[in-house]
């Protein structure tokens, strides 16, 4: 029985370690996807001259999960949830945070970006997109660094923690 318990403990901590590591690995990936989505948004605004809602629809079709879920929600709720676009954007962002590995900083960047959407003429709108993208670029570097620093360590740390606790308890 003792051995079974020990095994389970190690399995659990290992799993936690892997989960942590995968979050670290996914964060840069998701940031990249958001950046891509912003680039598509810019193109849809500039070349297709689509209204915001249609632009969201177009982005939704071109992006992978979880970003696509975010734009899908925006597209569907834009005229239902609230007349205030900021509210819809904020709520969608909250949901995105639950299903993606984006960090606090990215959330703040996107939140700020949402405040500017649809209120400016094209040139200003484009500047805001660039600004958000350059902020995200910085976070991306940061996320990459973190992954390199802690990614592998997180995995081994999980196993080792498990072993350590088992040894203590035995």
């Amino acid at each position: 029985m003792v051995w079974l318990g020990a095994l389970m403990l190690i399995a659990t901590t290992t799993w936690i370690g892997f989960e942590w590591s995968s979050r670290l690995a996914n964060r840069p990936k998701h940031i990249r996807q958001v950046k891509n989505a912003l680039q598509i948004l810019e193109a849809e605004m500039m070349y297709s001259q689509l209204p915001l809602q249609e632009a969201f629809h177009a982005i939704k079709k071109q992006t992978p999960f979880p970003i696509h879920a975010f734009f899908d929600r925006l597209y569907k709720n834009m005229h239902q949830e609230s007349k205030d676009f900021k509210v819809v954007w904020g709520n969608s962002l909250d949901e995105l945070m639950d299903i993606s590995c984006l960090g606090k900083n990215e959330k703040e960047i996107l939140l700020q970006f949402g405040q500017t959407l649809g209120q400016h003429d094209f040139n200003q709108q484009q500047k805001h997109i660039y600004l958000a993208r350059s902020h995200l670029e910085r976070e991306l570097e940061n996320a990459n660094d973190q992954y390199e620093k802690y990614g592998r360590m997180a995995k081994s740390l999980g196993v080792l923690c498990g072993l350590f606790i088992v040894l203590l308890l035995l």
Binding site: M45, P51, K83, G118, Q119, D121, F122
Partner: protein, 306 residues
């Protein structure tokens, strides 16, 4: 009036609805100024809602609703200073203007809004029509000061001609709508009923528009708003020589005054207009007018409710 009240933030909307109960009918304009009381203009009167002062957030909200959250698409509108919304209502904009090489680029900070409520008066021109028809429609010039109902009248004329009646079969009508007032189109779709045989050239310069229409759409009747410049007159003469019936409006107070304007004088001296409709200023726009025939004889002097 849902198209209009949906523009406002919830709180303003309820307050406005309360202030306006049963008074949508005579309402002409809702004017908003930053930090100033909202002003309502009715047919006969105007009033200020002293307790309603829209702030910056209200303006942002309204502008977002106006542009469907996509102000970046409104370049043209921001340069022209107005936009047309669903239902044909027009919203005039004013504020801080950005210029590029001396010409207006866009209104950057919108701080004044004038929501002008469009009311299509179906049947406004019905009483007028028999005078414009005598074995075919006559070339007609409608003369009126601002707010006398020129556009209302010409819109209904377009509708009646292209719908036809028991005695008169419907004709192909071409409307050149330079200021998007006759049809109030959004993305080329007219928001007012102009009849089933009407084609609209929206936001197109009149002179070019008339020629384009004649070349490509073969209209039998051309309807043009607010002619004025030499180029307009040139194109009008061209159209008339092409055998198209022209019905147009012009800004003015009396026939004699028109003769003093060089471009119009040229048009009148050719003797091509067979009917002149002079609109009078009354409380109900488009309801009172005098009609002259080609030799400037008064065909009637009538005052009638619509």
């Amino acid at each position: 009036m849902n198209e209009i009240s949906r523009l406002f933030p919830n709180q303003l909307q309820t307050e406005l609805d309360r202030a306006l109960t049963n008074r949508w009918e005579p309402l002409q304009e809702i004017r908003l100024r930053l930090q100033q009381p909202i002003e309502l203009i009715f047919n006969q009167s105007h009033e200020q809602l002293v307790h309603l002062k829209p702030d910056k957030h209200d303006f942002v909200h309204i502008i977002q609703q106006l542009s469907d959250y996509s102000l970046y698409r409104m370049e043209e509108e921001l340069r022209e200073g107005y936009m047309t919304i669903e239902g044909g209502h027009r919203v005039g904009l004013a504020g801080k203007v950005n210029t590029l090489n001396g010409s207006v680029k866009a209104i950057q900070y919108i701080t004044f809004l004038n929501i002008r409520i469009a009311k299509q008066k179906i049947g406004a021109a019905r009483k007028l029509m028999p005078y414009l028809y005598n074995n075919g429609y006559k070339n007609t010039l409608i003369i009126g000061a601002p707010q006398t109902g020129k556009t209302t009248l010409i819109r209904d004329i377009a509708r009646i001609i292209s719908t036809g009646s028991n005695q008169v079969s419907p004709l192909k009508v071409g409307v050149i709508d330079e200021r998007s007032e006759i049809a109030a189109s959004i993305n080329g779709v007219p928001q007012h009923d102009l009849g089933s045989r009407t084609d609209v050239m929206d936001a197109c310069p009149k002179a070019e528009g008339m020629m384009m229409m004649i070349r490509s759409m073969s209209p039998e009747v051309l309807i043009v708003d607010e002619i004025g410049g030499n180029k307009d007159v040139e194109a009008l003469l061209e159209a008339l020589h092409a055998g198209v019936v022209v019905i147009c409006t012009v800004h003015g107070y009396t026939l004699d005054e028109l003769k003093r304007r060089p471009a119009i004088k040229r048009l009148l001296s050719q003797g091509i207009f067979q009917r002149f409709v002079l609109l009078h200023h009354t409380s109900i726009p488009g309801s009172s007018y005098t009609i002259y025939d080609e030799s400037k004889r008064n065909m009637l002097r009538q005052k009638s409710g619509v």
